[in-house]
Protein backbone atom coordinates (compact mmCIF):
# COMPACT_ATOMS: atom_id res chain seq x y z
CA UNK A 1 0.00 0.00 0.00
CA UNK A 2 1.35 3.43 -0.95
CA UNK A 3 2.06 5.17 2.37
CA UNK A 4 1.65 8.62 0.85
CA UNK A 5 -1.94 7.84 -0.15
CA UNK A 6 -2.74 6.75 3.39
CA UNK A 7 -1.05 9.87 4.78
CA UNK A 8 -2.96 12.11 2.39
CA UNK A 9 -6.22 10.42 3.35
CA UNK A 10 -5.48 10.89 7.05
CA UNK A 11 -4.46 14.54 6.60
CA UNK A 12 -7.59 15.26 4.56
CA UNK A 13 -9.55 14.66 7.79
CA UNK A 14 -8.25 17.97 9.07
CA UNK A 15 -7.14 19.89 5.98
CA UNK A 16 -8.74 20.85 2.66
CA UNK A 17 -7.87 18.22 0.02
CA UNK A 18 -5.49 20.46 -1.94
CA UNK A 19 -3.48 21.34 1.17
CA UNK A 20 -3.44 17.76 2.42
CA UNK A 21 -1.93 16.78 -0.92
CA UNK A 22 0.73 19.53 -0.81
CA UNK A 23 1.70 18.72 2.79
CA UNK A 24 1.97 15.01 1.95
CA UNK A 25 4.21 15.93 -1.00
CA UNK A 26 6.47 17.98 1.31
CA UNK A 27 6.77 15.09 3.76
CA UNK A 28 7.41 12.61 0.97
CA UNK A 29 10.19 14.79 -0.41
CA UNK A 30 11.86 15.17 2.98
CA UNK A 31 11.32 11.55 4.02
CA UNK A 32 13.73 10.48 1.27
CA UNK A 33 16.49 11.75 3.59
CA UNK A 34 14.84 11.30 6.99
CA UNK A 35 13.04 7.97 6.73
CA UNK A 36 9.60 6.49 7.36
CA UNK A 37 9.46 7.12 11.10
CA UNK A 38 9.93 10.84 10.57
CA UNK A 39 7.28 10.75 7.83
CA UNK A 40 4.60 9.21 10.03
CA UNK A 41 5.46 11.23 13.11
CA UNK A 42 5.18 14.38 10.98
CA UNK A 43 1.77 13.30 9.71
CA UNK A 44 0.60 12.64 13.29
CA UNK A 45 1.96 15.91 14.67
CA UNK A 46 0.49 17.91 11.80
CA UNK A 47 -2.90 16.31 12.35
CA UNK A 48 -2.80 17.00 16.11
CA UNK A 49 -1.62 20.55 15.54
CA UNK A 50 -4.38 21.24 13.03
CA UNK A 51 -7.11 19.86 15.30
CA UNK A 52 -5.78 21.97 18.17
CA UNK A 53 -5.76 25.06 15.93
CA UNK A 54 -9.33 24.34 14.80
CA UNK A 55 -10.50 24.16 18.43
CA UNK A 56 -8.54 27.29 19.30
CA UNK A 57 -10.09 29.25 16.43
CA UNK A 58 -13.71 28.13 16.73
CA UNK A 59 -14.39 26.55 20.14
CA UNK A 60 -18.03 27.65 20.36
CA UNK A 61 -18.83 26.63 16.80
CA UNK A 62 -17.35 23.17 17.37
CA UNK A 63 -18.99 22.76 20.77
CA UNK A 64 -22.36 23.72 19.27
CA UNK A 65 -21.80 21.26 16.46
CA UNK A 66 -21.00 18.57 19.00
CA UNK A 67 -24.26 19.14 20.86
CA UNK A 68 -26.39 19.32 17.72
CA UNK A 69 -24.61 16.32 16.23
CA UNK A 70 -25.29 14.37 19.42
CA UNK A 71 -29.01 15.16 19.09
CA UNK A 72 -28.98 14.15 15.42
CA UNK A 73 -27.19 10.93 16.30
CA UNK A 74 -29.75 10.02 18.97
CA UNK A 75 -32.68 10.82 16.66
CA UNK A 76 -31.30 8.77 13.76
CA UNK A 77 -30.40 5.93 16.12
CA UNK A 78 -33.90 5.90 17.60
CA UNK A 79 -35.51 5.71 14.16
CA UNK A 80 -33.16 3.00 12.90
CA UNK A 81 -33.14 0.92 16.09
CA UNK A 82 -36.91 0.84 16.53
CA UNK A 83 -37.60 -1.96 13.99
CA UNK A 84 -34.74 -3.98 15.49
CA UNK A 85 -36.54 -4.28 18.78
CA UNK A 86 -39.08 -6.58 17.14
CA UNK A 87 -36.47 -8.93 15.70
CA UNK A 88 -35.13 -12.07 17.34
CA UNK A 89 -31.56 -10.84 17.08
CA UNK A 90 -32.22 -7.36 18.41
CA UNK A 91 -28.64 -6.93 19.68
CA UNK A 92 -27.16 -7.17 16.19
CA UNK A 93 -29.86 -4.91 14.83
CA UNK A 94 -29.09 -2.28 17.46
CA UNK A 95 -25.37 -2.51 16.75
CA UNK A 96 -26.08 -2.04 13.06
CA UNK A 97 -28.39 0.90 13.82
CA UNK A 98 -25.70 2.43 16.04
CA UNK A 99 -23.10 2.24 13.25
CA UNK A 100 -25.52 3.52 10.62
CA UNK A 101 -26.54 6.43 12.88
CA UNK A 102 -22.87 7.22 13.47
CA UNK A 103 -22.22 7.18 9.72
CA UNK A 104 -25.12 9.56 8.98
CA UNK A 105 -24.11 11.81 11.87
CA UNK A 106 -20.60 11.91 10.44
CA UNK A 107 -21.99 13.00 7.09
CA UNK A 108 -24.15 15.63 8.80
CA UNK A 109 -21.18 17.01 10.70
CA UNK A 110 -18.87 16.81 7.69
CA UNK A 111 -21.20 18.97 5.63
CA UNK A 112 -21.25 21.62 8.35
CA UNK A 113 -17.52 21.69 9.02
CA UNK A 114 -15.93 20.72 5.70
CA UNK A 115 -12.51 22.04 6.64
CA UNK A 116 -12.59 20.88 10.25
CA UNK A 117 -13.89 17.35 9.88
CA UNK A 118 -11.69 15.65 12.45
CA UNK A 119 -12.14 18.40 15.05
CA UNK A 120 -15.92 18.18 14.50
CA UNK A 121 -15.90 14.38 14.83
CA UNK A 122 -14.00 14.71 18.10
CA UNK A 123 -16.52 17.32 19.26
CA UNK A 124 -19.28 14.76 18.77
CA UNK A 125 -17.72 12.62 21.44
CA UNK A 126 -16.03 15.07 23.76
CA UNK A 127 -18.80 17.65 24.15
CA UNK A 128 -21.70 15.31 25.04
CA UNK A 129 -19.40 13.32 27.31
CA UNK A 130 -18.34 16.53 29.07
CA UNK A 131 -21.99 17.55 29.46
CA UNK A 132 -22.89 14.14 30.91
CA UNK A 133 -20.00 14.30 33.36
CA UNK A 134 -21.03 17.86 34.30
CA UNK A 135 -24.61 16.72 34.93
CA UNK A 136 -23.40 13.79 37.03
CA UNK A 137 -21.17 16.08 39.04
CA UNK A 138 -23.96 18.54 39.80
CA UNK A 139 -26.71 15.99 40.47
CA UNK A 140 -25.19 13.53 42.94
CA UNK A 141 -28.35 11.43 43.16
CA UNK A 142 -27.44 9.85 39.88
CA UNK A 143 -24.71 7.28 39.96
CA UNK A 144 -22.18 7.07 37.16
CA UNK A 145 -23.00 3.38 36.77
CA UNK A 146 -26.63 4.20 35.99
CA UNK A 147 -25.78 6.42 33.09
CA UNK A 148 -24.94 4.82 29.80
CA UNK A 149 -22.53 6.63 27.54
CA UNK A 150 -23.67 4.50 24.63
CA UNK A 151 -25.48 7.46 23.13
CA UNK A 152 -22.19 9.28 22.63
CA UNK A 153 -21.47 9.07 18.94
CA UNK A 154 -18.08 7.44 19.29
CA UNK A 155 -18.48 5.48 22.50
CA UNK A 156 -16.87 2.51 20.76
CA UNK A 157 -14.16 2.31 18.06
CA UNK A 158 -16.57 0.98 15.42
CA UNK A 159 -18.91 3.94 15.83
CA UNK A 160 -15.99 6.35 15.81
CA UNK A 161 -14.74 4.96 12.50
CA UNK A 162 -18.29 5.14 11.14
CA UNK A 163 -18.49 8.81 12.16
CA UNK A 164 -15.14 9.63 10.56
CA UNK A 165 -15.98 7.65 7.42
CA UNK A 166 -19.31 9.46 7.16
CA UNK A 167 -17.56 12.82 7.56
CA UNK A 168 -15.12 11.91 4.80
CA UNK A 169 -17.97 10.85 2.54
CA UNK A 170 -19.85 14.09 3.03
CA UNK A 171 -19.69 16.34 0.01
CA UNK A 172 -19.28 19.36 2.24
CA UNK A 173 -19.77 22.97 1.46
CA UNK A 174 -17.20 23.92 -1.12
CA UNK A 175 -14.70 26.60 -0.12
CA UNK A 176 -15.41 30.05 -1.47
CA UNK A 177 -14.36 30.45 -5.09
CA UNK A 178 -10.84 31.77 -5.41
CA UNK A 179 -9.63 34.63 -7.50
Amino acid sequence: VDRSRIAEFVLSLALPAERASAVTGDFLEEAAARGGLWFWSSVGRTLASQVWEDWRQAPLELAGLGVRGFAVNLAVFAVLALPGLFLNDSRSAILLASCAAAYFTGRWVGRRAPERKLAACLALGVVPAAILVGVLATIPIWGVEKISFSGVAWSDPLSFFAVVYGALKSDGRKPAAQG
Binding site: S4, E18, A22, V23, G25, D26, E53
Partner: protein
Protein backbone atom coordinates in the same frame (compact mmCIF):
# COMPACT_ATOMS: atom_id res chain seq x y z
CA UNK B 1 -0.96 51.53 12.18
CA UNK B 2 -3.86 49.88 13.95
CA UNK B 3 -4.82 47.85 10.88
CA UNK B 4 -1.38 46.23 10.55
CA UNK B 5 -1.44 42.85 12.31
CA UNK B 6 1.26 42.24 14.90
CA UNK B 7 3.52 39.23 14.44
CA UNK B 8 4.36 36.45 16.82
CA UNK B 9 7.98 35.34 16.90
CA UNK B 10 7.46 32.24 14.78
CA UNK B 11 5.25 34.13 12.33
CA UNK B 12 8.06 36.67 12.01
CA UNK B 13 10.59 33.92 11.24
CA UNK B 14 8.30 32.28 8.70
CA UNK B 15 7.68 35.54 6.83
CA UNK B 16 11.42 36.33 6.73
CA UNK B 17 12.19 32.81 5.46
CA UNK B 18 9.59 33.27 2.70
CA UNK B 19 11.17 36.59 1.72
CA UNK B 20 14.63 35.02 1.56
CA UNK B 21 13.39 32.11 -0.58
CA UNK B 22 11.53 34.37 -3.00
CA UNK B 23 9.96 32.19 -5.74
CA UNK B 24 10.99 28.91 -4.10
CA UNK B 25 9.08 29.26 -0.83
CA UNK B 26 6.97 26.24 0.09
CA UNK B 27 6.64 24.09 3.23
CA UNK B 28 9.84 22.08 2.89
CA UNK B 29 12.13 24.93 1.85
CA UNK B 30 10.72 27.25 4.53
CA UNK B 31 11.41 24.65 7.22
CA UNK B 32 14.93 24.09 5.89
CA UNK B 33 15.63 27.83 5.74
CA UNK B 34 14.52 28.35 9.35
CA UNK B 35 16.54 25.35 10.49
CA UNK B 36 19.67 26.51 8.66
CA UNK B 37 19.51 30.10 9.92
CA UNK B 38 18.28 29.63 13.48
CA UNK B 39 19.46 26.14 14.37
CA UNK B 40 15.91 25.35 15.50
CA UNK B 41 13.83 22.50 14.12
CA UNK B 42 10.35 23.85 13.37
CA UNK B 43 7.60 21.32 14.09
CA UNK B 44 5.85 20.47 10.81
CA UNK B 45 2.41 20.97 12.32
CA UNK B 46 3.31 24.37 13.70
CA UNK B 47 4.65 25.49 10.33
CA UNK B 48 1.55 24.53 8.34
CA UNK B 49 -0.93 25.98 10.83
CA UNK B 50 1.16 29.17 10.89
CA UNK B 51 1.11 29.39 7.09
CA UNK B 52 -2.68 29.00 7.12
CA UNK B 53 -3.05 31.60 9.84
CA UNK B 54 -0.81 34.09 8.02
CA UNK B 55 -2.85 33.59 4.85
CA UNK B 56 -6.09 34.09 6.78
CA UNK B 57 -4.68 37.35 8.16
CA UNK B 58 -3.82 38.46 4.62
CA UNK B 59 -0.09 38.49 5.29
CA UNK B 60 0.75 36.01 2.55
CA UNK B 61 -0.76 34.53 -0.58
CA UNK B 62 -0.46 30.98 -1.86
CA UNK B 63 -0.66 29.26 -5.21
CA UNK B 64 -0.29 25.67 -6.34
CA UNK B 65 2.62 24.67 -8.56
CA UNK B 66 2.89 21.77 -10.97
CA UNK B 67 2.92 18.16 -9.72
CA UNK B 68 6.38 16.57 -9.54
CA UNK B 69 7.37 12.86 -9.59
CA UNK B 70 9.56 13.01 -6.44
CA UNK B 71 6.46 14.15 -4.53
CA UNK B 72 4.32 11.28 -5.83
CA UNK B 73 2.71 13.54 -8.40
CA UNK B 74 1.69 16.12 -5.82
CA UNK B 75 1.89 19.87 -6.35
CA UNK B 76 3.80 22.30 -4.13
CA UNK B 77 1.93 25.06 -2.33
CA UNK B 78 4.07 28.13 -3.01
CA UNK B 79 3.65 31.14 -0.76
CA UNK B 80 4.51 34.83 -1.11
CA UNK B 81 4.51 37.69 1.36
CA UNK B 82 1.68 40.11 0.56
CA UNK B 83 1.83 43.89 0.74
CA UNK B 84 0.18 43.74 4.18
CA UNK B 85 2.76 41.14 5.21
CA UNK B 86 5.57 43.48 4.17
CA UNK B 87 4.05 46.29 6.23
CA UNK B 88 3.76 43.96 9.23
CA UNK B 89 7.42 42.96 8.86
CA UNK B 90 8.57 46.58 8.60
CA UNK B 91 6.52 47.48 11.66
CA UNK B 92 7.92 44.54 13.65
CA UNK B 93 11.48 45.52 12.65
CA UNK B 94 10.87 49.15 13.60
CA UNK B 95 9.55 48.12 17.02
CA UNK B 96 12.50 45.80 17.67
CA UNK B 97 15.04 48.45 16.66
CA UNK B 98 13.42 51.04 18.88
CA UNK B 99 13.46 48.65 21.81
CA UNK B 100 17.12 47.81 21.23
CA UNK B 101 18.15 51.41 20.65
CA UNK B 102 20.54 52.66 23.34
CA UNK B 103 20.79 49.34 25.19
CA UNK B 104 24.26 48.34 26.25
CA UNK B 105 24.22 44.60 25.73
CA UNK B 106 26.55 42.71 28.08
CA UNK B 107 29.46 41.21 26.14
CA UNK B 108 29.12 37.89 28.01
CA UNK B 109 25.58 37.41 26.72
CA UNK B 110 26.61 37.50 23.05
CA UNK B 111 26.50 34.13 21.35
Amino acid sequence: MADIPTLGEFEHLVLLAILRLDEEAYGLTIRNEIRARTGREPAPGALYTTLDRLEDKGLLTSSMGDPTPQRGGRAKRFVKVSATGMKALHEARRVYLRMWDGLAFPEAARG
